[in-house]
């Protein structure tokens, strides 16, 4: 009986340890030296891109950090960074002459606070391109909307290298685009009526 009890306790302890290990287990990290893609179903802790590799992210999740080196290029067209359920933050760091193009990316927001931080390392010459509209940048936090209308919020490092690297590419928001289209159509109709 005592043996059975002891085995039972041991079983509970093993199960307890297993659940702790599962809770603490990290997804894998990955390095890209050549072109690659991160898509739906991919989950990484950290991602690093080297040399002149170009990596496109169309989905999936980077829960930790993204680091770009050399002359690499990263195109963020979908997916997410940071895991707010774990309180994990993400960092996007550009080293050397790397470039990131941000068309769409969920950086994670909790309690109205950005969970993804973007910066160019000191002494580096990175370029950070944002494509969207409604940009508001107070020197530390950047908000705005992607082309698909979803909002974003990122924390931006306020060092000189990062400030000089930021480039905002305004895409007309849907309402503005609609007005422009209607205006163009009216102009065309008016021209025809004059003929």
């Amino acid at each position: 009986m005592r043996e059975l009890l002891r085995m039972g306790v041991a079983g509970v302890i093993v199960l307890g340890l297993a659940s702790v290990c599962l809770a603490d287990s990290f997804p894998p990290s990955i390095d890209f030296q050549t072109d690659g893609i991160i898509e739906d179903g991919n989950t990484f802790l950290n991602v690093r891109v080297f040399d002149d590799a170009m990596v496109s992210m169309t989905g999936g999740n980077i829960k930790g950090d993204l680091e770009l080196y050399n002359t690499s290029i990263f195109n963020a067209e979908g997916g997410a960074m940071a895991d707010t359920s774990m309180g994990w933050s993400s960092r996007i760091t550009l080293f050397d002459n790397s470039i990131i193009n941000l068309y769409e990316l969920d950086g994670g927001v909790a309690y109205g606070i950005p969970f993804t931080h973007i910066e160019v390392a000191s002494g580096a010459n990175g370029q950070i391109h944002f494509y969207g509209y409604g940009f508001q940048f107070n020197g530390d936090v950047l908000s705005g909307y992607w082309d698909n209308g979803s909002s974003f919020l990122f924390s931006i490092r306020s060092n000189l290298e990062t400030r000089e690297a930021l480039e905002f590419h305004e895409i007309p928001e849907p309402a503005t685009f609609g007005i422009l289209t209607i205006g163009f159509a009216i102009l065309q109709l008016t021209r025809k009526s004059y003929k």
Binding site: D65, G87, I113, N138
Partner: protein, 164 residues
């Protein structure tokens, strides 16, 4: 039990962040509270503390303080002996690697409902090498408006305030 060169046991550090400065080298988590947030790495290092809108501070988020917060450890036979070894592997500004040999075992932040601060006010991280394991607990403590705070300001009338 033969310990040999291995230093057994766990060293626990307890960081109480009284709305003060910190952030990173390893992977990071975020501590939040209603008028600010901080990025902190799993080794307890920090360089990013943001202060936002509050009744006393009518401004958006901006980085607060320029100092950094980091911890080091010394024990006989540590890889940096006779010097102490930084817990974090990377200081952000100026950027330099510390070449410590720690790795991250776990890190996480969450809202502790027993802590009256609203937000991710509590965190826990564990780092280790093949000799020691270091556990760090974090907690945002709100000491109340006007009470002692590391954020002290000279008002226009010359008085010193400690407000959120």
């Amino acid at each position: 039990m033969k310990l040999g060169k291995k230093l057994s046991g766990t060293i626990s550090l307890y960081f109480t962040l009284i709305i003060c400065n910190i952030v990173y080298g390893f992977n990071t988590f975020t501590l939040t509270f209603p008028c600010g947030y901080a990025y902190i790495d799993a080794a307890g290092y920090a360089d990013k503390f943001y202060w936002g809108l509050s009744p006393y501070h009518p401004h958006g988020y901006h980085e607060l303080l320029s100092g950094e917060w980091g911890a080091a450890i010394y024990y006989d036979g540590n890889p940096k002996a006779p010097k102490a070894m930084w817990l974090t592997d990377y200081f952000l500004a100026p950027p330099w690697p510390t070449y410590c040999d720690f790795t991250v075992n776990s890190y996480r932040a969450w809202e502790d409902l027993n802590n009256p601060v609203v937000g991710y006010d509590t965190a826990h991280s564990v780092i280790s090498n093949n000799q020691v394991e270091i556990t760090i607990d974090y907690e945002i403590a709100d000491l109340g408006d006007g009470n002692f705070s590391p954020l002290m300001y000279h008002e226009q009338n010359g008085t010193i305030s400690g407000k959120r």
